[in-house]
């Protein structure tokens, strides 16, 4: 038999394959580094020095605590904007997902329209959304809210649509067989089935949006991002470091809470 391999042959061939793949990866790295004039050795020696400088300057000191009230006020606002934009976008996404998901779409072409729309919204990165919206809505919290809203809308519509499409369509047939209307099928069948998965997505997006809100804030000049940018540019690195630290604490707290909520509702 020509395709019969002995175990020894098989493992030797497997080793050769892995070696070739590894060599190709190293080759690609070396080529790209050469093209951008990046010197691996110099970088390696400079990274520790850079990190030490970072730690020296960005570690919050006693002096930075005087900024605490201003920082926590902006952090609170940013958190609220992240939550508000996620929940708002979540509601719209649910509506679009029901119209767009194959088992619940009122007509087949809705599926295509919604999917295309969600993709269009999603391919514009949140940074671009912020810049575009800045022209129309000026430097305000609302601009940040909208930027996060559109990004979340595109993302969640896609996620919700796929969640609904994972549902066994026969479950809906059972409700139709009972004589339920379309709306009853959606509310009594689809929503109870997908509720926990949808909640998980919402919680995940809130975490995600809090991080993104910082970046959006830098661009739109609002919230914690603005404050970070402001301290940073006025050389108050310790205060900027305090902001990073507080954001990290908030994100971790948020993650722990949402893990707990997810376990409770599963």
């Amino acid at each position: 038999m020509p395709n019969q391999l002995t175990p020894q042959h098989f493992f030797r061939r497997r080793r050769i394959q892995l070696t070739v793949i590894l060599l190709i990866l190293i080759g690609i790295y070396w080529l790209s580094m050469a093209l951008v004039n990046f010197q691996t050795m110099t970088a390696l020696t400079q990274v520790p020095a850079g990190l030490i400088w970072l730690f020296k300057n960005f570690i919050p000191t006693e002096r930075s605590l005087s900024y605490l009230s201003a920082i926590s006020f902006q952090l609170w606002r940013t958190l609220l904007i992240a939550i508000a934009s996620t929940i708002c976008a979540g509601l719209f996404s649910l509506f679009f997902a029901i119209l767009g998901a194959k088992p619940t779409a009122p007509a087949p072409y809705w599926h295509l329209v919604i999917r295309l729309g969600a993709s269009l919204v999603r391919i514009i990165p949140v940074v671009a959304w912020s810049m575009i919206l800045l022209f129309s809505f000026k430097q305000s919290d609302f601009t940040g809210f909208l930027a996060l809203f559109f990004m979340t809308l595109g993302y969640l519509t896609r996620a919700f649509t796929e969640t609904i499409e994972d549902l066994d369509p026969d479950k809906l047939s059972a409700l139709r067989a009972v004589g339920a209307t379309y709306t009853q099928c959606v509310f009594c069948g689809v929503l109870p089935e997908v509720a926990t998965t949808l909640t998980s997505w919402l919680l995940y997006m809130i975490e995600n949006n809090l991080r993104d809100a910082t970046l959006v804030g830098i661009l739109t000049g609002t919230g914690i991002g603005f404050l970070f940018n402001y301290y940073f540019k006025s050389f108050r690195y310790d205060a900027a470091g305090l902001i990073v630290l507080l954001i990290a604490i908030l994100v971790i707290t948020l993650e722990l809470t949402s893990t707990k909520i997810r376990k409770a509702i599963a």
Partner: protein, 254 residues
């Protein structure tokens, strides 16, 4: 009385799934549709309540043609036809009681249905039905935590909540163990007799059909090859029902 006359259905141009299918099913009897897989059993059953739209024919339930019904009328007709499935098709995260109450959706306004506004009488009836199928203690359990046999009995209770004239059963025992199979089939036979229901049931287990059915409809490749009482089912007729297509044709389709 359910009368199906000359039902045709094809899913694509090459192959006709149902060829002029006619049979009757009487109240108080268990009517079993038997035949090899792919013969068209599920297509027939799902045409009866128009979950599948067929191409031609008549489906008369007490002399009303279901095929001619307008959407609102169809909803009312469906309300009085219960249906149970191989995969139970309950809403898993909801309780058994809520799933049984879904049997009332066809009689409710859209708004009352989506808000879950059920009367005390309806809730009591649902609980009684769960007790009748032996699940009184499980009324407030999530359905996805129940065993297959228990879920199928919740499915039967949901069908009964519709005050049905007829219950359609699409391979109701295909996923069940022998003990649950007996329990479910006993309930269905008892219902046919005590409530004078039409029980129309798809089965691929011949022994079960022979034990429980009063009336047998045998189908092979979309054509009815036998219809008559269970007693009159001879080995020759069984052979005609389960006759395999010639090998040549199978390989041509594969």
């Amino acid at each position: 009385m359910l009368k199906v006359i000359g039902l045709d259905k094809s899913y694509n141009r090459q192959k006709q799934s149902l060829k002029s299918v006619s049979f009757t099913a009487k109240p108080g009897e268990v009517t079993a549709i038997i035949g090899p897989s792919g013969a068209g059993k599920t297509t027939i059953l799902r045409s009866v309540n128009q979950l599948i739209r067929d191409d031609a024919g008549q489906i008369l339930l007490d002399d009303t043609d279901i095929r001619q019904a307008k959407p609102a009328e169809l909803r009312q007709i469906r309300h009085h036809i219960g249906m149970i499935f191989q995969n139970y098709n309950l809403i898993g995260p909801l309780t058994a009681l809520e799933n049984v109450l879904h049997g009332r959706l066809g009689a409710k306004s859209t708004l009352a249905g989506i808000l879950g506004l059920y009367s005390t009488a309806e809730k009591n009836e649902a609980l009684e039905l769960l007790k009748a199928v032996g699940l009184g203690d499980f009324a407030l359990q999530r359905c996805d935590q129940l065993s297959g046999g228990q879920q199928q009995r919740v499915g039967i209770a949901r069908a009964l909540m519709q005050h049905p004239k007829m219950i359609l059963c699409d391979e109701p025992i295909a996923s069940l163990d022998p003990k649950s199979t007996k329990l479910v089939m006993d309930i269905l036979r008892e219902l046919a007799q005590s409530k004078q229901l039409i029980i129309l049931i798809n089965l691929h287990q011949l022994e079960i059909a022979q034990t429980y059915a009063d009336h047998i409809v045998g189908i092979n490749q979309g054509t009815i090859v036998y219809e008559g009482p269970q007693r009159a089912l001879t080995p020759e007729k069984l052979q005609a029902i389960y006759r395999q297509a010639p090998t040549k044709e199978v390989s041509a389709h594969a």
